[in-house]
Structure formats: structure tokens, C-alpha cells
């Protein structure tokens, strides 16, 4: 049964958290959070089993509003925390929410290694091409030539293509969408959550406050329109020449393949270790705690 947005809000947003949220008018973060919650609701995950992990930045403030196990970590390390959570309790559904700077700037090393490990969790990356929380500095996803408070004369650096980076690093599911394509975003998030292995969803978003204004891209509506006009589906993109694809946003599922999943493979390691050197398991190793001193 499909829930209305009001029902989704009642079920998944924290009643004891003081609103309003911190996001600016026209921000894409709320759109992504809505899609994420609807996708989780559709799958039917139990709230007690969901862990939402984030780093630092505007988008990383999302978990505090949501009624899951929520973990707002330090800048760039969300995936490393998530790795620990998932390995310690593999039955939990672990979803990581990060921005572009958080995931492929300061956290780039953790990102590529998470991709190669193929642990069954999802990284949702809201890519607004700017460091928004600190007021609009250049990010590893800022287009060349763009203006920011730290590229006053134009950005020299080539931006990361986050989805291609994920694919090259070994992620077994990669999808891209935008905050304009709400239905598609909700759908690919659901596919990513269901995927067994490490999944990445890159969401192209706009930051009218710190990026749009400085680069004269208009307000929230114009930035949404830009997403609509620049987006091209994976299917259509396959028939287009590289020069036609320049500056376009290819959306849809880019990678979807099966590979051995880490936590399941780790069980085999445990079996091999037990065979090699029998030790009492933690459960078997009953301890008398009376008189225990630290």
C-alpha cells in the first residue's frame, strides 16, 4: 500500500526533533530525503534495522531529522564508520548520505575502498558541485571555469565524474539521477537498496544560495530546469556521440552486476579460521562476571 507524503512524514520524521531544518529555500536535500524515505517505505525495511550514516556538510545533516538509527560522523569518514557498523551487525541496512566534497574530496580514499570491498550497503551522494555549508568554496565536483569563493577567477581543476569513479573502483551498482527527476530517483534508490553489494546513487542537485547566484544560473526554478534540460537517459546516451554528451547528465542505472558480497564472504573466513585453530566462540566462552573488576 502506498503511503501519502503526510503518512511518510508521520512515520519517518522524528517527532521530538526541533524543526525547522537547516536547509535553504530551493535546496535539493529535502527532495532527496523524501525520495529516500519513500524508497525505504516501499521496500518495507523495519526502522529498527536501518542505520543512516552521514559525514559533514548540508546534506549530512539529514539523519538527525529521521527516525532510524542515525550516525552523524566527522567530515569524510561516513563510509568507514558504516563499514564498521555493517561488519559488526550484518543484518542491519546501512545507508550512507554524503555530499560531493564529503564523499570524493576529504573522503575520497574511503569512497574508492568502499567501492572495491563490495559490502552490502548504499552510498547516496548529493552532488551540488560546491561546498555549501562553508559558504560556497570549490569542490572536487565543481565544473571547470565555475566561480566560487575560492576560485574567484574561475576553476582550473577538472571535476570528478563521481559515478564513473565508483564504477572504476568496483562498485557493483551505480546509478545517477537529479533532484528534478523525483520518480526516477525514488526508483533507482529502491534498486540500490535492494542490490546485494555496494551501491552508489549520485544525485545531481542545485545549490542556488552558494553556487547558482555566483554563477548566474538563476534561482531554484532555473536550476531545476537546467537539470531537466541537461539530463539524458542511459538508453538515449548509448546512441549519442561523445561530443553530443559533453555537459549532459546521464541518468539511470549505469552499473548493475553481481559479485560476491563481503559480509557473506567473511563468514567463509570465519569457518576457515575455526578449522585452522579451534577457539571458544565469544558465546561459548561463558564468563563469571561476579567480582569482575575493570
Amino acid at each position: 500500500m502506498e503511503r501519502s507524503n503526510r503518512q511518510i512524514i508521520q512515520k519517518y520524521l522524528r517527532h521530538n526533533k526541533k524543526f525547522p531544518h537547516i536547509w535553504c529555500p530551493g535546496c535539493g536535500n529535502g527532495v532527496v530525503l523524501g525520495c529516500l524515505l519513500r524508497a525505504i517505505d516501499r521496500i518495507g525495511w523495519i526502522k529498527d534495522d536501518v542505520v543512516l550514516v552521514s559525514g559533514i556538510g548540508c546534506s549530512s545533516r539529514a539523519p538527525v531529522y529521521v527516525d532510524f538509527n542515525t550516525l552523524h560522523t566527522v567530515h569524510g569518514r561516513a563510509l568507514a564508520f558504516a563499514t564498521g557498523v555493517k561488519l559488526a551487525r550484518p543484518h542491519l541496512h546501512v545507508v550512507t548520505l554524503m555530499g560531493d566534497g564529503d564523499s570524493v574530496g576529504i573522503g575520497g580514499n574511503h569512497f574508492v575502498h568502499a567501492c572495491r570491498r563490495n559490502i552490502d550497503m548504499t552510498a547516496v551522494i548529493i552532488n551540488n558541485q560546491i561546498y555549501g555549508m562553508t559558504g560556497g568554496q570549490v569542490s572536487p565536483a565543481t565544473p571547470q571555469g565555475a566561480l566560487s569563493t575560492t576560485t574567484v577567477y574561475g576553476n582550473l581543476d577538472q571535476p570528478f565524474d563521481i559515478s564513473r569513479l565508483a564504477e572504476a573502483a568496483g562498485a557493483t551498482f551505480v546509478a545517477r539521477s537529479t533532484t528534478y527527476h523525483v520518480k526516477e530517483l525514488e526508483k533507482v534508490l529502491g534498486q540500490a537498496f535492494r542490490h546485494v553489494g555496494f551501491s552508489v546513487v549520485e544525485v545531481v542537485a542545485g545549490c542556488p544560495t552558494t553556487y547558482g547566484r555566483r554563477n548566474k544560473l538563476g534561482g531554484p526554478v532555473e536550476m531545476m530546469r537546467w537539470q531537466k534540460e541537461k539530463a539524458v537517459s542511459v538508453k538515449k546516451a548509448r546512441e549519442m556521440a561523445p561530443e553530443e554528451l559533453a555537459g549532459r547528465i546521464v541518468t539511470g542505472v549505469l552499473v548493475d552486476r553481481d559479485a560476491p558480497e563481503y559480509t557473506r564472504e567473511y563468514e567463509k573466513i570465519r569457518e576457515a579460521a575455526r578449522a585452522a585453530q579451534p577457539e571458544p566462540t565469544v558465546e561459548e566462552d561463558k564468563v563469571d562476571r561476579t567480582g569482575a573488576e575493570p
Binding site: 522524528r14 521530538n16 526533533k17 526541533k18 526502522k47 529498527d48 534495522d49 542505520v51 550514516v53 539523519p63 538527525v64 527516525d67 532510524f68 538509527n69 542515525t70 550516525l71 552523524h72 560522523t73 566527522v74 569518514r77 568507514a80 564508520f81 558504516a82 563499514t83 564498521g84 557498523v85 555493517k86 561488519l87 559488526a88 551487525r89 543484518h91 542491519l92 580514499n109 574511503h110 575502498h113 567473511y266 573466513i269 570465519r270 576457515a272 579460521a273 575455526r274 585452522a276 585453530q277 579451534p278 577457539e279 571458544p280 566462540t281 565469544v282 558465546e283 561459548e284 566462552d285 561463558k286 564468563v287 563469571d288 562476571r289 567480582g291 569482575a292 573488576e293 575493570p294
Partner: protein, 382 residues
């Protein structure tokens, strides 16, 4: 093949850390190779999976501690081990563990620094870094060890204090203790006291993960236990939600200190030898305390009134031991011996406050301090 009774083994200090971790119920290790701590990772890589635990080699030391904190939040007893350069990388997350009150054990087997420094000659140069390495006011517990057996005991104690106080605990070893081999008799598994964090017993809707309690330590739910709560490195209220309200800030941060202060008596460990009538007391820790003991014994044989105060806990600084010794009225001078330029020396100056002389004997050239050097220095003050 369940190990029965106590076992006699020839072990390195680092191997004793592995035994201690397994004996106290460690189920998660994430780390990155670095000499002189690597034997800890190697030992747990072989042993942890066999007890149903998890060993993970991460991409760097930052990711290692992050994975440990994540695992701890999911209910595991987690540990990492490193040395100077890796320990520097972990600093931000040590502060996160303190403010989010996440149990974890961090072993730092010290080597010469700064930077890449003297790989891998002995040093004790990280004493102040363990106290003040991460930014902001925070409480921390730092233990140390002088022998292989003590490396085992202190690993157990580090886990237990960490669980009890919901705070990261650092075990600060030096390269000598990490690598030297000694015959040790380890207690039977069941004979090792284990402390587990207090889990909430109230219904989830009544749970406040950072509430005031009598002990200052709130119960800690694991992710997946049905208590859905928020964890953040932002200063937070009793529910874990970020706050800017002055009363909540002060209450929250002060509780972090109060919970450790209440436990000073069990946390701050020292050992004294021949201090009852001592006129000169050597202050030492780690491997240097072994040289100091020999020097003191030699002087005692010669009829000189020398004593030893061996620090087993470095932070919170065991001030009470100095008050006790000063209170006896016989001590005229303390001689602080350490393999750095005088980090504990300055702490001793601070707590003695001019009530006796304080001298130092330090080396930072990658060599041990010998008993003869200490004995020679002691003779000057006796």
C-alpha cells in the same frame, strides 16, 4: 580444544595485547600496518575470525578508528593499534569517540618522532599527544605497561574502563615493551574479569542516550536493539540532538569530565617500591621503569634511601600518588626518567608545586635509559 586453566607462554608485549583483547571479549579490530605495532594486527587477523569476530585492514588509520567506532555503536568491543604517524591521523576521531561517548581501545606502540621520526627506535614522545592531541576540552584515559604480562593486564583493563565509562581508552606502550619477549603465565579465560557497557532497560520511548545519571555514564544501546537514537560529534542535548543552548552545552560537556573524575580512584594506578622512607624518588613508566627499578635496588643495597614511583596510568595524571609520597615528609627530590624531552617531568612539576625538588633524566636519541645512568643521577640527589 577449549583452553583450560592458566597457560604459560613465551610472548612479545604485542602478542600479549592480542591475548588480552581475546580474553576480555574483543570482537572487532580494524587497523593499518605500522611498525612497531603490526604484530597486534597480525595476531588478531589470525585469531578474531575463529571466535566469530571481525578483522579488517582499512585504507588508513583514520578509516581504522572510524570502523572501530562504528562497530562499537553496533555493540562490538572494538580495538585498533598503531604507532606515532598513524596515531596522529586518528586524533580527530579520538575526540569524536569522547564526545559521542563510544567505547574503543586504541593501542599506540610508540616509536621515535616527530613525523616519520626514528622507525622504529624506542621513545616515549607521545605522552602529551595522548592527552591533548585532539582538539577541544575532553576527558581521556591513558594506560601504560612495563612488562609483557602487564601489557596483557592493561589491555583487559583498557577494554573494561572503556566499556564502563563509555570513553575511548588509549594503551600507550613503547617499542621495547611491544617487542621484548618474556615468559608469562596468563590467566584462564574465565578468570579474566569482563565489564560490559550498561544497556538500556527502559522502553525505547523513554530512552535518552545522553542523559544525566548518578555515575555520569548513560546506558548505551546498540544500533539494531530497537532504541533508535542520534549520534553526532556536534555538542548535543540529552537526546543526542545538536544544541546551542548554553545550559545544555555546559551540562553535557561537564558530565563528560565528571564521569571520569568520579572514577579517579580505580582509573589512576601507580606502583611504589621503597618509597616509605625515600629521600629521592624516581618517577618512571613503560620500559624505563625496569631500568629505574634496578637502579633503585642497587642504591638500596648501598644503603641509600632511593624509591620508585611507577606510573601505570598516565592520564588522568595520578596526582594522588605524589600527594601520598609528599605527605610522608621524607622525600627531598623526584627524578623523572623518560624517553622524551621531559613530558611527564612538567606534569610532576605541576603537581609537586615546589614542595620538593624535581629533576629529569631524559633521552631522545632512540636508545634506552640504562640502570647505570639512573643510579648515577640518583646519587647526585641523595
Amino acid at each position: 580444544m577449549r583452553p583450560q586453566g592458566s597457560r604459560e607462554l613465551l610472548l612479545q608485549g604485542n602478542e600479549a595485547v592480542v591475548e588480552g583483547a581475546l580474553a576480555v571479549g574483543c570482537t572487532f579490530y580494524a587497523g593499518y600496518p605500522i611498525t612497531p605495532s603490526t604484530e597486534i594486527a597480525e595476531g588478531l587477523a589470525a585469531r578474531l575470525p575463529a571466535v566469530g569476530g571481525t578483522f579488517l585492514q582499512m585504507e588508513d588509520e583514520i578509516g581504522s578508528l572510524a570502523a572501530c567506532l562504528g562497530a562499537s555503536l553496533a555493540g562490538a568491543k572494538a580495538m585498533t593499534a598503531t604507532s606515532g604517524p598513524g596515531f596522529s591521523l586518528m586524533q580527530e576521531l579520538i575526540g569524536y569517540g569522547c564526545v559521542a561517548e563510544i567505547p574503543a581501545v586504541i593501542v599506540n606502540v610508540m616509536r621515535g618522532g616527530p613525523s616519520t621520526g626514528l622507525p622504529t627506535s624506542p621513545s616515549q614522545g607521545d605522552v602529551m599527544q595522548t592527552r591533548w592531541g585532539t582538539h577541544g576540552d575532553h576527558p581521556i584515559i591513558v594506560l601504560t605497561a612495563s612488562s609483557v604480562r602487564e601489557a596483557f593486564d592493561m589491555t583487559v583493563r583498557a577494554f573494561n574502563l572503556s566499556e564502563k565509562y563509555r570513553n575511548p581508552v588509549i594503551l600507550l606502550l613503547d617499542e621495547v615493551v611491544g617487542h621484548m619477549r618474556e615468559k608469562v603465565r596468563l590467566p584462564a579465560r574465565g578468570a579474566v574479569g569482563r565489564v560490559d557497557r550498561i544497556r538500556p532497560s527502559m522502553p525505547p520511548e523513554w530512552y535518552a542516550p545522553y542523559e544525566e545519571t548518578n555515575t555520569g555514564v548513560p546506558p548505551m544501546a546498540a544500533f539494531g536493539d530497537g532504541y533508535r537514537y542520534h549520534v553526532t560529534g556536534l555538542v548535543h542535548d540529552r537526546m543526542g540532538f545538536p544544541t546551542q543552548q548554553k545550559t545544555e552545552i555546559v551540562q553535557g560537556v561537564n558530565r563528560l569530565f565528571r564521569k571520569i573524575e568520579r572514577g579517579f580512584r580505580e582509573i589512576c594506578l601507580t606502583e611504589e617500591a621503597s618509597t616509605d622512607d625515600a629521600e629521592a624518588v624516581v618517577v618512571a613508566y613503560g620500559s624505563v621503569a625496569r631500568s629505574a627499578r634496578e637502579a633503585v635496588e642497587e642504591l638500596r643495597v648501598q644503603g641509600r634511601r632511593a624509591g620508585l614511583l611507577r606510573l601505570q596510568t598516565l592520564w588522568p595524571f595520578p596526582r594522588a600518588a605524589f600527594e601520598r609520597i609528599l605527605g610522608r615528609g621524607t622525600v627531598r627530590s623526584f627524578l623523572v626518567c623518560e624517553m622524551n624531552r621531559g613530558q611527564v617531568y612538567r606534569e610532576v612539576l605541576r603537581v609537586v608545586r615546589g614542595r620538593s625538588e624535581v629533576h629529569k633524566l631524559t633521552r631522545n636519541d632512540g636508545e634506552l635509559i640504562t640502570p647505570a645512568e639512573i643510579a648515577k643521577a640518583l646519587r647526585e640527589w641523595l
